[in-house]
């Protein structure tokens, strides 16, 4: 004791003193209770962050292998000559499309004649000239088709052999990797096995000569095709029916365009080189801007994310176009107009929507919404609506309508918060100046809450673009960039989405294969997209936050 004259300690009741001063009895590894509690909470926070980092790491690690993999894929495509064959195939496909067009024209003409009162025999007789042209068109591309067919067999054969060789190389590598340990007999046997694996070295340049060597033959076929098409255009009969005549004219124009394009295709063939290297960015571009997604094909796999990206984006925009007016207007009503009793009813009701499992919404979409929409679209007096009658029951609009339902609670709740944060004083000031309630809402409340509402919309977008189940069930899953030439009717086309493709194909894909990595690429793209959207939302909220006084 340093100071004996210190005053008497203040009398504190025994129990209080015990609580205040007694060090906790709990001890574990020399640490007291507070320390452990702190560690517990700290650990939980740390765990969440670690898990997130792990997810991000895995996603990008698996995706990273895609670039070189796809590059190799494209390299084989070129070196084995598949690319060369595809150039030629485009020609024969175009002729086939012209043939289909001609058949459709014939059908229209036939119906027009029947409508004029001709019997079907008479009508067929009148169309005999057209039928002859149809046959001539099919025959015209015959030699070219034969060439393409033979070349296809050759090129895919080469590719198949390349694939087998690669598999064998892998088998040998696996056997050699198994060598190790002291069992000399086993090591010797494995080595022997590995050496016994036959690996064919494919001499691409000589293989490709079998294709490029046929160029003169192709050129000859092209010349005769061009001449025959010219003759067909000249021999095309004329129709007295205006609509049919118009179609025939268009057909003639398309034939001429095709003829004019033939030298260009030939030039492409002449310029083509099997040993032209594939750049790293070519592989990247093939993913990001590729318009086809074809997997497990006997010919060539394509991993172009564009149709999926378009599908996701298109559905999300449609969904927001429905959800924004509904969500924001509902928030405005609840926040500015509704009586407290209405507020108590509406708010939980809208927020409840988010509790509906998405798969339930999905089969509601298939069974009810899709069916109803199709029935409605077939009502004759609604045929002025673009896209009606609908071709497909499940399409972008069906999915978007359901996604809108899922986005409404997000947009509603956050927009309502944003409106709630607008100081009541602003509303009073406006009303006191003689503004009506509507004027106050439109000119004062809405602009003041705009940043919050924008953030709400962005987060709604994030919610929608990441949604999987509903789009998988209801979007129709056709992998193609929507045809925007259909105008607003484009909304009724089936699309496929980035989320949908991952969910659909991930289960069947071979682990580590190029397809597997392509799906991870899609996942990474989605991840980056949501990250950007969420980051943007936070930035906007922070940037335009009203000063809180």
């Amino acid at each position: 004791m340093a100071n004996d004259s210190s005053p008497e300690p203040i009398a504190v009741s025994h129990s209080v003193r015990k609580q205040l001063l007694a060090p906790g009895k709990f001890r574990l590894f020399g640490k007291n209770r507070d320390w452990w509690i702190k560690q517990f909470f700290e650990g939980n926070a740390a765990l969440s962050i670690v898990v997130l980092l792990l997810i991000v790491f895995t996603l990008f690690r698996e995706a990273a292998g895609f670039m070189p993999g796809n590059r190799h894929n494209l390299e084989v495509y070129r070196r084995a000559g598949l690319e060369y064959v595809d150039i030629l195939k485009r020609e024969t496909d175009a002729v086939a499309a012209l043939g289909r067009e001609l058949s459709a024209t014939r059908l229209a003409w036939f119906e027009a004649l029947r409508a004029e009162g001709l019997s079907s025999e008479d009508a067929n007789e009148r169309l005999a000239a057209l039928d002859e042209i149809d046959t001539r068109l099919a025959d015209a591309s015959g030699p070219l088709r034969d060439i393409v067919s033979e070349m296809t067999d050759h090129a895919s054969g080469v590719k198949e052999r390349a694939k087998v060789a690669e598999d064998m190389r892998e088998v040998r590598a696996n056997l050699l990797a198994g060598i190790g340990g002291s069992d000399s007999e086993r090591v010797a046997s494995l080595k022997a096995q590995a050496e016994a694996v036959e690996i064919e070295t494919i001499d691409y340049p000589t293989e490709v000569v079998a294709l490029t060597g046929r160029l003169p033959e192709i050129q000859a076929a092209n010349r005769s095709l061009s001449a025959e098409l010219g003759a067909i255009v000249a021999a095309l009969p004329t129709a007295s029916e205006a609509a049919v005549a118009k179609r025939l004219q268009r057909f003639a124009r398309e034939l001429e365009e095709f003829r004019a394009g033939l030298p260009r295709a030939e030039g492409e063939l002449v310029r083509w080189r099997a040993d032209e290297p594939i750049g790293f960015f070519e592989s990247f571009n093939a993913f990001l801007f590729g318009r086809t997604w074809v997997t497990a094909s006997f010919w060539q796999d394509w991993y172009g994310v564009l149709p999926l990206f378009f599908g996701s984006f298109f559905i999300s925009v449609l969904a927001l176009a429905i959800a924004i007016p509904l969500g924001v207007c509902a928030a405005l009503y609840v926040n500015q107009v509704a009586r407290p009793a209405e507020q108590r009813f509406i708010k939980p009701y809208i927020e409840f929507i988010s509790a509906i499992p998405s798969v339930v919404l999905g089969f509601f979409g298939i069974a009810m919404l899709g069916e109803t929409l199709r029935l409605v679209s077939q009502v004759p007096w609604l045929s002025w609506v673009p896209g009606f009658p609908m071709q497909e029951r499940l399409n972008a609009f069906t999915a978007a309508a359901l996604l809108a339902l899922m986005a409404i609670p997000t947009i509603f709740t956050l927009a309502e918060d944003a409106l709630q944060n607008v100081p009541k004083a602003l509303r009073e000031a406006s009303l006191a100046l003689g503004a009506t309630r509507m004027q106050t809402i439109v000119k004062i409340i809405l602009p003041a809450a705009l940043s919050g509402i924008t953030a709400a919309i962005l987060l709604g977008f994030g919610r929608v673009i990441g949604e999987t189940m509903v789009v998988l069930l209801c979007a129709g899953n056709r992998i193609a960039v929507p045809d925007f030439s259909a105008g607003l009717g484009v909304a009724f086309q089936p699309v496929h989405t980035m989320t949908g493709i991952v969910a659909q194909e991930m289960g069947e894909v071979v682990r580590g294969s190029l397809h597997y990595r392509a799906l991870f690429m899609v996942g990474s793209l989605l991840f980056l997209l949501s990250l950007a959207v969420n980051y943007g939302a936070q930035k906007i909220v922070r940037r335009y936050r009203l000063p809180q006084t």
Partner: protein, 274 residues
Amino acid sequence: MSTAQPLPAAPAVSPKAAPAPATPPIVEIEKLDFFYGDKQALFDVTLGIPEKQVTAFIGPSGCGKTTLLRCLNRMNDLVDVARIGGGEIRIDGINIYDPRVDVIELRKRVGMVFQKSNPFPKSIYENIAYGLRLHGIKHKDKLDEIVEKSLRGAALWDEVKDRLHDSGMGLSGGQQQRLCIARAIAVEPDVILMDEPCSALDPIATAKVEELIHELKTRYTIVIVTHNMQQAARVSDQTAFFYLGKLIEFAGTQKIFMNPSNPQTESYVSGHFG
């Protein structure tokens, strides 16, 4: 009331405010009873507010002075449970609670300045132009002219004329409050209600606003609610003292502060409670 303490001196009445004889009332409140749900907030208040003078409502917290002020432009309509129990308020002889009265029109004639300055999150110019546009003034030249006039009227023009298009939220507290006054006078109301307009301001900003009130009363009828008795004494011509929802005394400011007839008024103005 304790008599042990010496009476503090009553606040000095400014000579400028001194001997204004009451003009004929423009706002007449008659036997007004007012309720929040079941709770009665105002009891049988009868009061005539004279034209082109400053009338101050004073009294301790919860005495109903702000409630009465907000009855004058029907801002209490925004409160769901608020209702008039009896009596009426007439402005220019028209009962403003008559169902035929257009509340929008009423609020154009009775402007208001709030306790906390509440400029819109818009530019200084737009803050003032907003009310004008509501009243159908669209022409740019006309708007420019009235904005300048109003800012000059609120003694703010010289301070902001170079930054009319900056945000009104960027002004200081006192400037914001004068902007709110400019906003109120821009639409040329007959009456301006001020709800403790200086309670959030420092003494210098307060002095400026008070000076402004002095200038404004030549053109407007002003009703001001204040907690600050010195302020009431400095700026007002008439003073009404409220206590527990009742009007205790209403008279010329000089009389209220120098020679109140009611003992409750006397003990309040001399600082014994409140």
